[in-house]
Structure formats: C-alpha cells, structure tokens
C-alpha cells in the first residue's frame, strides 16, 4: 500500500518558494545601494571619457576654462569649492558647537525639544530658497553694511582687498555656512549627549563651574566626535549647489580676494550643463562631476567612520 500523499506538501512547497523569492526581492532592494554606487561612478567615468583622454591629469591643475577654444581645466572650480567650504566651516563649526553645548548643557529642559525642532525646520529649507533670500536680502546687506567695515578693518590682508560686489566667494561661504549649521549642530549634539553623565558629575564633584565641566569633562571627551561632525559638514558644503550658484558670482578667474566672484564644481555644472554644445564640453562637465563625486564620497566615508567609532564605543559601554 502506497503512503497517502501529504496534503500539506504543496502548501509547504508553496511557502518555501514564497519565502525564497521574497528574500531575494528584499536582498535586491538592499543591494541597490551598491548598484547605485557603481552606477554613479560608472556613468560619470564613462561620460568623462573624452575629456580624460584629451587632458589626462592636467585637467585637475589647468586653470583655463574656455568652452570657445575647448580648453578645460578644473582648478578654478576645485579652488572655489574648497575656499567656500573652508569659509563655511570656519563660521559654522564654532556656532554649531556653541549651540550644541547650549542644547545639552545649559538650556532649560522644557526648551530643548522645541529648539531641536526649529533646527530641523532650518534643515528643511530648500537650497533654492536660501539662494533667493541670498540674492535679495543677504547680498545687499553684506555689500552696503557688513563688507565695507570689514574691508576697513582687515583691508591690509590681500584676502579683503579689491572691489566689493556683494556677490562673491565670501558670500558663497556664508550661505553654505547657514546651510550646514543644522547638520553640524545636530551631530555635535548627539556626540555631546553621548558623553556619560558620570564624567560631568566627577567634574562637578571637584567644584568645577558649569563652563569648566563643559570644557574639561565634556568637550575634551567629545573632541573626536565633533571633528567627525565638522568633516560631515565639509562633505555637505562641498556639494551645495543652488544657493551657492546664486550668490558666488560664477567667475572662473582665481582671485586672491574673498570679495571677488568665484565658482564651484557644483555650480559650474548647474550653470553650464544644458548649454554644453559639444561632446567634449559635456564630457569636461562630467569629469567635474566625477571629481565632485570622488571628493564627497571620500569625505563622507571618513566622517561616517569617525562618527561610527564614537557610536560603537557608546553601545559597547551600554551593552
């Protein structure tokens, strides 16, 4: 007598099949992250073939950008990207750390959450709106009210010489600073919050004032994490596009003065991509994108490593 077939076998087979394909589907979703990474690198590499073949590494150090004669060098944009980001960091990091200290050490508890929400709202303001505000509010204010006294006081430095247009490298840096304030503040705040309270209590126990506690027990402990927050801010600053494009002046001359117009990698792509009439021109713009991608991936990876190192130290302690 043959054994009766198990009536649930088909069901089992069915569910095994379902399980396997659902798992594969989810795996496909997760691996999209790597697919995207390869896709973006490949497309920019492939798109920049012509320019890479013609200019080689000299592309990175060439200071002429001349679409008419088809000579392309990226130096003015690399320079502008780094200078505007450096200005942004110089302004944003101290302000952000100060705010993070206020939020974790000083502010009345009832005020903390609303302030954090306000900073989140700040982060949500689109770049193009900062640019609009930059053109019509910030630039006139800087040109008439802020820059002349600045030039008067620091005009002996080449950085602050020359005519004041309002738009320019310094203005670009200021607008980027405003835009990276929220992320640097919120990461710094996370870092400061991860400092164990024992650390603070020990310092208070020695009779330290609140500032001394902050300086000795909190800031020295959180130094590396704050550095990580600054690097993350740098990563965002390098890629800021619209607002910078609208206020930096868009000139591919490298000038020593911060009042002079400049140009960044992202903003030259934004401005010229749809106007690129020849294949080589387009290819040069793709290579600028490739440079920008390389810079931001390296900087962001670095920032993630630093921030994660702090976080995992914390979780190890808790576990």
């Amino acid at each position: 007598m043959t054994p009766r077939p198990d009536p649930t076998a088909a069901l089992h087979r069915n569910s095994r099949w379902g399980d396997r394909s659902f798992r594969l589907l989810c795996l496909a979703g997760a691996s999209t992250i790597f697919v995207l990474l390869l896709l973006v690198a490949y497309q920019l590499y492939h798109g920049s073939q012509l320019a890479r073949a013609q200019f080689g590494w000299k592309f990175l150090v060439g200071s002429t950008w001349d679409p008419v004669d088809e000579v392309y060098g990226a130096l003015p944009f690399i320079y502008g990207t780094f200078v505007s980001s450096a200005i942004a960091l110089l302004i944003a990091v101290p302000l952000s750390v100060g705010t993070a200290i206020y939020l974790t050490e000083l502010a009345p508890v009832r005020l903390r959450q609303p302030l954090v929400s306000v900073i989140e709202m700040l982060a949500a303001v689109p770049s193009v709106i900062w640019g609009l505000w930059g053109i019509f509010v910030l630039v006139p204010f800087l040109r008439t009210t802020a820059y002349p006294p600045l030039q008067h006081a620091l005009g002996f430095l080449p950085l602050f010489q020359g005519p004041i247009y309002g738009i320019g490298m310094l203005t670009g840096g200021i607008i980027v600073a405003i835009m990276i304030l929220p992320i640097v503040t919120s990461v710094s705040r996370e870092v400061l919050r991860s400092v164990p309270n024992l650390q603070r209590e020990a310092a208070y126990g020695l009779g330290a004032t609140r500032w001394e506690v902050t300086r000795i027990a909190v800031l020295s402990y959180a130094r590396r994490g704050i550095f990580g927050a600054a690097v993350l801010g740098l990563g965002r600053a390098l890629g800021e596009t619209m607002a910078v494009t609208m206020v930096i002046g868009n000139s591919s001359d490298i000038s020593r003065s911060l009042f002079a117009p400049g140009y960044t990698l992202a903003s030259v792509i934004a401005n010229e991509f749809t106007e690129a009439t020849t294949d080589r021109y387009l290819s040069a713009l793709f290579e600028l994108g490739l440079v920008l991608l390389g810079l931001t991936v390296v900087i962001n990876a670095l920032a993630q490593v630093m921030i994660r190192a702090i976080a995992s130290k914390e979780t190890r302690r808790v576990a």
Binding site: L25, A30, L36, L95, I119, L132, F136, W211, A266
Partner: protein, 284 residues
C-alpha cells in the same frame, strides 16, 4: 591667601557667565536665519499670491494673471514618480536589513547608504541625464522623477529599517508559531505594525527632495506650459523659482518669492505630517 582664592573664584564665575552667554548667543545666531527667511518669505510672498498664481501658467513679464500652476502640479507629479521609484526599493532594502541580513552585511549597507546620502544631488541629476535623457533624446518628467528617486532610496531604506526593528520580537514569533511562512509573517504582521513609521520615513524623504532643484535642471528641465505627457519636459516649483530669481524683472522676482512661499509651505506640511505621525506612534 584667602583674598587670592576669592579673586580666583570670582574670575572663574565670571568666565563661566561669559561662556554661558557665548553659547546662548551661538544658539540665537543659529536659529535666527530661520526667522529671517520666514519673515521675508511671508512679507514678499503673500503680496504676490492670488488665485491666478495657483491656476495659471507663467506669462510674459508684467502680464496680470500669470502664475505657477503648472509648476505646482509638476512638483507633485515629480514627487509621485520619485516615490514610485524610490519607496518600494527602499522599503524592501529596509526589510532585508531588519529581517534577514547578518550584522557584517548590514553594517556595510548602512555605511554606504549613509555615504550615498552625502553625494551631491546634482550628481544624481547627471546620472539620470545619462540613463534617461540621452537614450530618449528628450528631457522628461520620468528622468526628473528618477533623479529624485535615486536620492530617496538610501533615506527610505535607513528609516524603514529603524522602524522595523522596533516591532517586538514576540509579534514575529507569534506569527511563525501559527505556521505562517516568513514572508507572510513579514508582510501581514511586521509591515502593517510599522506602517505609520514607514510612512513617516517616506514623507521625510519626500520633504527632502521636494525642494531639490539641481537634479532637475537637466532632467525635468522645466516647462512654461502644462505638460500633457510624462515623457515631456515638466515644470517644477524649485526650477521656476530659480529661473525667476536670476531673471532681471521685478515682476518675476515677486513671483519667485510667492513660489518660494508655496514651496516652503509644501515642505513644512510634509514635515508636519511626519511630526503628527511620529507623535501618534509614541502615544500608542
């Protein structure tokens, strides 16, 4: 001896007060741009808002009855397209991280998702241009939606994972104990339980891309008229604001402010939705 210690004490107290004041000042400086931008948006924007602004397309300079209706609808269409591209992939990826992946693999995926998150949005525009504009020889709503979808994927993936791990283990065990296959347990128990959280993450990601301009410049491209098909160039609010802001006409500047007011309202409405959903989640 006693004197100097009092003096020292006073010096330390003074320094303390000073540094406290500095940190309060920092906080005020950090949040003041928000106040400034809202003030100008409302002051400049409200004046240019009227019914036509929402229903009409852009007209020649100074012509009354021109608006950004097509750009507002265009932005909504682009958001829908971006979500169609980004949400399923992001959610499935998040499910993989929370339900299947091992620790090592998950760490790698999270790490690179966060790095991708920092890739400038204009770069995604270039990728979408290369794969969705060049082959079809036309700017289109599809390519714009794709560019925004790229940006949404890592965001949705991370937030989905974060809410799925909050679903109690016992729910999963109960499902499995009833004999449900794992995929049914996930789709019938885990996902519905975390639905609000997932929606929150999606809204967050939509809010982030709603104001993106750079990736649309050479994908959606913008359009001064209503677009009738998704394979045509399409207007978007941020693009229209940009075009008007850098134009030389006062009338267009006024409209740019009005557009910016509408855009920020849209973005804040999305984040208000987030807040509402997440506060409900905390209550329940």
């Amino acid at each position: 001896m006693a004197m100097s210690s009092t003096a020292n004490h006073r010096y330390r107290r003074l320094k303390n007060a000073l540094m406290n004041a500095v940190s309060i000042l920092c906080a005020v400086l950090v949040i003041s741009p928000l106040g400034l931008i809202l003030f100008y948006l409302i002051r400049q924007g409200v004046a240019a808002l009227n019914w036509e602004f929402f229903t009409h397309v852009p007209g020649p300079v100074g012509q009354p009855g021109s608006g950004m209706g097509n750009a507002i609808i265009g932005t909504v269409e682009l958001l829908v397209l971006a979500s169609l591209a980004g949400v399923p992939i992001g959610v499935l990826g998040g499910v993989y991280l929370s339900e299947y992946g091992g620790d090592r693999v998950n760490d790698w995926i999270r790490f690179w998702a966060d790095v991708l998150n920092g890739v400038p949005s204009i770069v995604w525009g270039m990728v979408a241009y290369a794969i969705a504009v060049v082959p079809f020889k036309t700017f289109s709503a599809y390519s714009g939606g794709l560019a925004l979808g790229f940006i949404m994927i890592p965001l949705v993936l991370r937030t989905t994972e974060e809410v799925l791990v909050l679903v109690p283990r016992s729910y999963r065990e109960a499902g499995l104990a009833l004999g449900l296959p794992q995929w049914k347990m996930i789709s019938r128990i885990v996902l519905p339980t975390a639905l609000k959280g997932i929606v929150t993450g999606v809204l967050l990601a939509m809010g982030r891309v709603a104001g993106e301009t750079a990736p649309l410049l050479f994908t959606a491209f913008g359009n001064r008229y209503w677009s009738h098909h998704l394979s045509e160039p399409i207007a978007a609010l941020p693009l229209q604001i940009f075009a008007y802001a850098i134009s030389p006409y006062d009338d267009w500047h006024r409209q740019a402010w009005a557009g910016a007011l509408v855009l920020i309202f849209l973005v804040f409405a999305l984040s208000a939705g987030v807040r509402l959903l997440s506060s409900e989640r905390k209550k329940s």
